[in-house]
């Protein structure tokens, strides 16, 4: 591999620029869809780009008494961890280094931003940030378990700890979406909590805690946080697609890319519809729902898969 090809891979395709376009495209789709569900026109396609550019150009203000280095590191670290996770997820028709256990690595890397999000709340010392941070940690302990338990149904069936292994298993056994539809739905609800989308946008509920931990952030740091969240959406959705629809396309083919895109858009539609349909839950209601209902359900689901 020569240096130009390497740089092209890192920066443009399938690296940074492509992922950015994908993330912002999904963001636009989300906003447009919710707007249409609510009877509005919605933003034009370049709106997320414009927002991002504007934020990068804005002045960066932090409250007095906060540690500048620490607060700058937080969004950078979370951005970096999501980008690293995306390196291991085979987006579109890209081959990635796959090894036994890369699933665990991805799960870890995807949960790092949530922890940093909580730290951001404590680092900026605003009352709303602290409440938002506490909420995000509480939410982390409920949805993360749910997401992991639900998606591990596919690991049990495929008997593999790598994404490629799960995908290969589906070529033999058929897509997991049909036999494991409940597991898929549970994983999706876990993902909603992970992405802090409505109706589980409790840590950043704007009628209560303004913007949660991000209240005091502005400018480039806020832009990085937002970008992280959008990239997390891409990562989470493609993880679900690989685990549940893995056999629908071949790698390294244009048709594969198209099928993958269609699936991604459909999943985004589902997420948008869900966030348009429900009111935000209260944090205690969420925890009760998760630990009394959804997590026992996913445990039962896994138990059933093991016995079978």
């Amino acid at each position: 591999m020569n240096i130009t090809e390497f740089l092209f891979n890192i920066l443009i395709f399938p690296g940074f620029l492509f992922l950015l376009a994908l993330a912002l495209g999904l963001d636009w789709l989300d906003r447009k869809l919710i707007a249409r569900f609510q009877g509005r026109v919605g933003p034009p396609w370049y709106q997320p780009w414009a927002d991002l550019l504007k934020l990068f150009a804005k002045e960066d203000i932090l409250p007095a008494g906060t540690n500048v280095v620490f607060t700058s590191l937080l969004p950078l670290l979370s951005f970096a961890s999501v980008m690293t996770a995306l390196f291991y997820i085979p987006i579109a028709f890209r081959r990635v280094p796959s090894f036994q256990g890369d699933f665990i690595v991805i799960m870890f890397l995807l949960s790092v931003p949530s922890l940093l999000y909580f730290l951001a709340g404590w680092a900026t010392k605003g009352v709303y940030s602290i409440i938002g941070g506490n909420r995000s940690l509480l939410q982390y302990f409920s949805y993360e378990v749910l997401f992991l338990l639900a998606i591990s149904g596919t690991i049990i069936t495929s008997n593999s700890w790598s994404i490629e292994g799960i995908r290969q298993a589906q070529f033999e056994q058929g897509a997991f979406i049909l036999p494991q539809i409940f597991g898929f739905l549970l994983a999706l609800s876990g993902l909603i909590g992970k992405l802090k989308r409505g109706p589980l946008d409790i840590p950043k509920a704007n009628s209560e805690v303004i913007a949660g931990p991000l209240t005091e952030f502005s400018g480039k740091k806020l832009a990085l946080w937002i970008l992280t969240n959008e990239l997390q959406t891409v990562a989470g959705l493609s993880l679900l697609i690989y685990c549940y629809f893995g056999n629908l396309w071949q790698m390294n083919k244009l048709s594969g890319f198209l099928i993958f895109s269609v699936l991604l858009v459909l999943m985004q539609c589902l997420l948008s519809a869900i966030s348009a349909m429900y009111a935000r839950l209260r944090i205690d209601q969420l925890i009760r729902l998760n630990w009394y209902l959804l997590i026992p359900l996913s445990l039962l689901h896994n138990l059933y898969l093991i016995i079978k």
Binding site: F37, Q38, V127, I131, E208, M277, I283, D284
Partner: protein, 360 residues
């Protein structure tokens, strides 16, 4: 657990108007709260003493941006009774029509704010979309979307034309469909119900002790409505029901408001069918004889009280305005105590605050 004091307001996304709360939190639970008003205090009562009765009609309209018409209605009623004027029936009918349109508009607006505060933006957009129908009708009739300037001492300014009545009829038919759909949604939608039920409970006894009025009182089972109990304008000639609920929580308040909007549509339809022909206003003298009067009417949020005292000159000697928001505000510390932080927004929205009214 350590206590934390968090400010809500004067600027906060939850509040649409400035009001300051200081909540003492223990974890996520509200232990104590204190409240301050006055961020939009404009001294309207004092200002009114320096203006003529005619100018005050426009001034009282500026007290509130949502229920502007009811303020002028109550004020004009007071001055008319001091003058001993008999307002023509057609004028009274148009006045009542605007009151009811405004009630629908206010209730829909409020419903949207509640839905927005619990994160159900879809309902917010739908109710504000439906509210736009009413605003268009009101603009067509009066020439203003919010400040209608329909009332004048001695009657109303605008007459209803045939075209306007037809437009009104069509809009009301569409609106009835939409409001009934909204009623079904708040009865059925699960996440809405679990967020609003059993939140902000007020018992019948609390209602009496705090002198609460309007939909908040009616949601706790207090059967009080000035339109029926002390009819003004032409309410004694109209047929309507006063919905009543006994749960006393925010969900009951939201349902009762939508039920009232349905009743208001019913009243508007009656008015269109029954409106008599004739003049809409009589000429009023500029000087008002000395005397005092207390005028009451039922605003969308409850009882509005105007006290006007005249000393025989062109200017009122004292104009006192009591708006329903104040009665609801008094109960807030009681409602908030022991709640989750997330429910604060629900309770504050449920009280249907209009701070500009409260401050005056």
């Amino acid at each position: 657990m350590s206590r934390m004091v968090i400010p809500i307001g004067p600027q906060h996304p939850l509040l649409k108007e400035p009001l300051s709360f200081l909540l003492t939190l223990e974890g996520e639970t509200v232990m104590d709260s204190s409240m301050r008003l006055g961020y939009v205090h404009r001294g309207i009562e004092k200002l009114a003493e320096q203006r003529t009765y005619v100018q005050n009609v426009v001034l009282t309209e500026r007290i509130c941006g949502i229920c502007s018409h009811i303020h002028t209605t109550t004020y004009c009623q007071a001055v008319e009774s001091l003058l001993g004027l008999e307002v023509p029936q057609r004028g009274l009918y148009i006045r009542t029509l605007m009151c009811e349109l405004e009630r629908i508009h206010s209730h829909l607006l409020w419903m949207g704010v509640l839905a927005k505060n619990i994160g159900l933006d879809t309902i917010f957009m739908y109710t504000w979309r439906d509210r736009e129908i009413i605003l268009n009708v009101m603009e067509e009739i009066s020439g203003g979307r919010v400040s209608h300037a329909v009332n004048t001492i001695g009657g109303v300014r605008n007459d209803l034309t045939k075209d306007q009545m037809n437009m009104l009829k069509e809009s009301l038919a569409l609106l009835r469909k939409r409001v009934e759909e909204l009623l079904r949604s708040i009865e059925k939608e699960r996440s809405f119900k679990i967020r609003t039920q059993k939140v902000g409970y007020l018992s019948l006894d609390d209602i009496k002790r705090y002198c609460v009025v309007g939909p908040v009182a009616r949601a706790s089972g207090m059967d009080i409505d000035l339109r029926r109990d002390a009819p003004y304008a032409v309410y004694d000639q109209l047929d309507f029901e006063v919905p009543l609920m006994f749960e006393g929580d925010v969900w009951a308040r939201s349902k009762i408001r939508v039920l009232e909007a349905v009743q208001s549509i019913h009243i508007c339809e009656q008015i269109i069918n029954a409106i008599p022909q004739g003049p809409v206003s009589v000429k009023a003298p500029r000087r008002v004889p000395a005397g005092e009067v207390v005028s009451r009417s039922e605003a969308p949020r409850g009882e509005v009280v105007y006290y006007v005292r005249s000393d025989g000159s062109q200017n009122p000697m004292r104009l006192k305005v009591r708006t329903p928001t104040l009665t609801n505000l008094v109960t807030l510390p009681k409602q908030l105590k022991g709640l989750q932080m997330a429910d604060v927004s629900v309770v504050i929205a449920g009280a249907d605050l209009c701070i500009a009214c409260g401050d005056r």
